[in-house]
Symmetry: C2
Subunit: 232 residues, 2 copies
């Protein structure tokens, strides 16, 4: 019997699980067989140890042996409102910020962005990247990646922070985990003054990331880095 | 007369500066001409406003009008001891951590690294990337990128931090700016237990970056992100 560290995603952690699709091919490539124990997760925070009962060319049947809640999530759900970026930069940010614990990405259209909108294919790709990064960092939650909306359509948030040059306030002096937390980071050209005003009205506090100019793809990783440096 | 925001690097900020090489071509592409004001920096923290006296196909002559110290540096020099990484990951880390204020990269060879050493060409490329990133983030210091040494060859440091999973200590609770600060981050496979012991002997304190597994190229950006989130 092998016990595999590798984690497979399933729709739901019912007592008996039948599954087909690419994960089955993946199991066969790994030479898994009936009797082997594997590790499952459902994308909502639950995981399980399971045993393979049967594995043929197209279908696997598994029995859940033990369920447990994965404790690798941040204390509260964190949403990153992320301005559209050029090229592969969005993918880089989604990958790194998934590792850092973000549970939802809300893409946003902004005034100084180099790209006006995002195609459906690219959105699908970002979702796949979020799923891969979630697996790799052993999280049990796969972050949502929500299609772009305008900044105006963003809700008023309970607690929010926007990375903004020239600010003195620090994120860690104001961060609390009493409820959901939002972060916002701008496009290559930064947020405009009126966009920052709008974000303030929606309860986002401008916070510093030091005195230097950061690229749009560095700022969100630095901001979430500050959050996880507290040990959460 | 034009006044250019774009910054050009010079060897030294003497009263009169003659220069040839690629920066001259760059000035000609930007259609700069005698009488225009430009912004110079010497890579050690000093900048200057200067006037172009003469610009021909190969040479530019400039007169320094005003020198000033750039205040975008961290309170003390920061060195990142960075394990060798595969592919373009080193370049990504050098770029982002230059923006975040690192003033020296000491590449290190480690036990679980996927690459044993670094070719001279790649070292030259990393130095070019550090220079570009320094310009873009408007820093006046171009970080050094030092050729790889073994972990044993690292000096004992006055104050150091190593990102290490499973630790409770936090970087910001122990960071002070009384002298030089060092950070260390590992390769794809992480530091071995004996490497962490060695780093501790050299005065590096293991610190947390949260409960999830970060990729080797995310950890240094997150760690420096925590540092700059204090406003430095």
């Amino acid at each position: 019997m092998k016990v595999f560290e590798k984690r497979f995603r399933v729709e739901a952690l019912t007592d008996t699980i039948e599954m087909d699709g690419p994960e089955v091919q993946h199991m066969r490539v790994l030479r898994l067989k009936a009797g082997d124990e594997i590790h499952l997760f459902d994308g909502t925070g639950w995981e399980a140890r399971a045993r393979i009962e049967d594995l043929d060319a197209f279908t696997v049947t598994m029995i859940v042996l033990e369920r447990f809640q994965n404790d690798l999530e941040l204390p509260q759900p964190v949403t990153l409102a992320l301005a559209l970026l050029k090229g592969d930069k969005l993918a880089d940010v989604v990958r790194a910020c998934t590792e850092l614990g973000v549970s939802r990405f809300q893409l946003i259209k902004t005034q100084y962005a180099d790209v006006p909108d995002l195609g459906d294919n690219k959105l699908v790709r970002l979702r796949r990247i979020a799923e891969e990064a979630s697996k790799q960092s052993r999280r049990a939650v796969v972050p949502e990646v929500l299609a772009p909306i305008s900044l105006k359509q963003l809700p008023s948030v309970p607690l929010g922070f926007v990375a903004h040059p020239g600010t003195q306030d620090t994120v860690l002096s104001k961060l609390s985990w009493d409820g959901q937390v939002w972060f916002a980071t701008g496009p290559e050209g930064g947020f405009s003054a009126s966009e920052v005003e709008l974000l303030k009205q929606k309860n986002f506090t401008p916070v510093t990331l030091g005195k230097r100019i950061l690229r749009a793809e560095t700022a969100p990783v630095a901001l979430l880095g500050a959050v996880v440096s507290t040990g959460v």
